[in-house]
């Protein structure tokens, strides 16, 4: 029966997934094994997104179904689920820019791909990125921005990380509708990604290389 939840969630069958969870809880199944299946299903969702079989609405909807499952399982949990993480990543939309859709998708994809994501939200000043990197010891920073003013904010943020003496131990990726290699050079970031799938590939490459 465990295969059912994985495929129901991965195939975005909300009713079916929630029913399976309810049945398993009623049968006294271990809540952690239910959450483990949910996580495996989300990995499949992420893989399908990376292969362009799924699109952003599929991700958002899978997240909604997962929320429902977590809400059902949580009261039965006696100990916290321990998940092995690939690495830590500080993410945010840079100063002056409040666009969040792209950043949220990147955050979501990195999370389901096994990264510990510290999402600082939108309009994030350079210093906040620096502080969070120091606090968490994260090895990757992701800067998001939709407007052209973000080019300068990204450059400032990379500069602030440099000034704080952290540049040597973090890799910085940037992304957003207008970002290309020309902007990457301008900002001094290590890489740019066209979409959330690219962000995951970059992050995996970087932690693999460490």
């Amino acid at each position: 029966m465990t295969g059912d939840l994985v495929s129901a969630l991965a195939n975005l069958k909300e009713q079916e997934a929630l029913e399976i969870v309810q049945n398993r809880l009623n049968a006294g199944d271990d809540p952690l094994s239910i959450l483990g299946d949910a996580r495996r299903a989300m990995e499949t969702v992420g893989e399908r997104f990376q292969k362009s079989e799924y699109f952003i609405p599929d991700l958002i909807y899978s997240g909604e179904i997962l929320k429902g499952i977590t809400a059902m399982v949580r009261p039965k949990l006696t100990k916290a689920a321990e998940v092995k993480r690939l690495g830590k990543l500080v993410l945010g939309t840079v100063s002056g820019d409040i666009h969040d859709i792209g950043k949220d998708i990147v955050s979501f994809m990195l999370d389901i791909s096994g990264f510990e994501v510290y999402d600082l939200g939108v309009d994030v000043p350079a210093q906040k990125f620096v502080d969070k990197v120091k606090e968490t010891n994260a090895g990757i920073v992701g800067l998001s921005g939709f407007l052209t003013l973000a080019f300068d904010s990204m450059k400032e943020t990379v500069g602030a990380i440099e000034d704080a003496g952290l540049r040597g131990r973090v890799k910085i990726m940037i992304g957003g509708g207008l970002i290309d290699d020309q902007v990457r050079k301008y900002t001094g970031a290590d890489a740019y990604g066209r979409d959330a799938a690219a962000a995951v590939s970059l992050a995996k490459k970087w932690v693999g290389g460490v």
Binding site: L12, I56, P57, Y61, E64, I98, L149, D152, D195
Partner: protein, 425 residues
């Protein structure tokens, strides 16, 4: 002998019209979306421009006088005072959440900007029936009070359709209207209304003046893609996406409901302003934001209806696609020939291949190039644009995305290069 502004005006109008009708004009018309660029170029902050309308017009006049483009987008700086009177929530503007020099930015329903709380709540999925049964009642008693703080008391009104006569409705509604908070709201609206009239009059005077200087406005009126109308303003991006799975029928009904409204707003606007082009800025249908199947179900059919309705009314839809539209090009090909203008942000070269024989295209250098590239790099790119996209007409130069922080030297290089090398015959 120098041409008179009147002659230049006629020449520019014809140049643009020829391109739209897929004829070969005398040269490629230049109609860049100026975005917020003129302000920076003239040394005026966005904040100044939103509170001193004349400064906006000074900036636009300076930009057009210096670059002499063939058409222009009227400034959409709107009025900071009006937003203040309204306590407007759907926007962050200088002094209200963004820096004085930053462009104003739209706040989505349900968007969280600081802390944990959303700035204003999206329409709830349960409210589809309300919206579908009585949209104006929903707008007055639920939607507007959310995005306009001054109208918050309107949530207390009884249903508007129930206010019918002296013995039914009127005496239930009036006491609510008479409360100090509703009277206060009405006073704020009255101030906002007076100020918006000032703003509109100043804009109209500016457009007339530009005409006398020889510059035609490219468009005046705007309509929405029906899906975007729901996703941008009512349900939010996430809400509409989830509706595609959980409430597909309601979502479709709502989309169909608002479709004729878009055509009506285009026709009314054209009548009021005497201009024939209607701009549509499709936001939420590009690659990634939905699958092709979802695009064909929720996005394109009613979008196409709006396009055809606008054309049937004798007007020209100017469709400014945003994001990567490459995978949608074959779909949006299905429109009458020579009647539509498409702006393509990504891969204008591919768009020329797919759409070139059907629709006039606008597009141009990417903003990264214009912001951070060299003059020579800009010229190389422009040469490619002229050779490939300009071939055979049907092309209007317009950088990939609206200008904001672009380097004026590069904008000048682009302009001069097109005027010199974009000549036909």
């Amino acid at each position: 002998m120098a041409k008179t502004p009147e002659e230049l005006y006629q020449e520019r109008v014809k140049r643009i019209e020829d391109a739209i009708q897929l004829k070969v004009p005398d040269r490629i018309p230049l109609v860049p979306h100026p975005g917020f660029f003129p302000l920076k170029y003239a040394g005026i902050t966005v904040q100044e421009a939103m509170y001193d309308y004349n400064k906006t017009y000074i900036a636009w006049k300076k930009t057009l006088s210096d670059f002499e483009w063939d058409g222009y987008y009227p400034p959409l700086l709107l009025s900071g005072y009006v937003f203040e009177h309204l306590d407007y929530r759907a926007l962050r503007w200088p002094g209200h959440g963004v820096k004085p020099t930053a462009p104003y930015q739209f706040v989505e329903p349900g968007q969280v900007i600081e802390g944990e709380r959303e700035v204003y709540a999206p329409m709830r999925a349960e409210d589809y029936d309300w919206f579908l049964d009585d949209p104006s009642d929903y707008m007055i008693r639920a939607y507007l009070p959310k995005i306009i703080g001054a109208l918050a008391p309107l949530t207390k009104l009884p249903p508007i359709h129930g206010i019918i006569t002296h013995y039914q409705g009127l005496f239930d509604a009036l006491p609510v209207v008479g409360t100090p908070e509703v009277l206060g709201a009405l006073e704020s609206i009255s101030k906002a209304s007076a100020e918006s009239l000032n703003w509109l009059n100043s804009l109209t005077a500016f457009i007339d003046e530009m005409e006398e200087m020889g510059f035609p406005a490219f468009f005046r009126n705007v309509a929405s893609v029906p899906y975007d109308f729901i996703a941008n303003f009512l349900r939010g991006t996430r809400g509409a996406m989830i509706d595609m799975y959980r409430n597909p029928d309601k979502l479709l009904k709502a989309i169909e409901k608002v479709t004729p409204w878009q055509i009506q707003t285009a026709v009314d606007g054209a009548e009021a302003t005497g201009t024939s082009r209607v701009a549509i800025f499709p936001h939420k249908g590009f690659k990634g934001l939905m699958s092709e199947e979802q695009y064909k179900t929720f996005y394109w059919p009613t979008f196409r209806q709006v396009i055809l309705g606008i054309i049937d009314a004798g007007l020209t839809p100017f469709i400014f696609t945003e994001g990567d539209y490459t995978s949608r090009l074959e779909i949006i090909r299905d429109v009458p020939k020579g009647k539509v203008v498409y702006h393509i942000e990504r891969d204008i070269f591919k768009a020329k291949e797919v759409l070139g024989d059907v629709a006039c295209l606008t597009g141009g250098p990417p903003s990264s190039l214009l912001c951070t590239g060299t003059v020579d790099e800009v010229k190389d790119y422009c040469k490619k644009l002229i050779d490939v996209v300009g071939k055979g007409g049907g092309y209007i130069l317009n950088p990939e995305v609206p200008l904001i922080d672009e380097n004026p030297e590069n904008v000048k290089a682009m302009t001069d290069f097109f005027k010199k090398h974009g000549v036909y015959r």
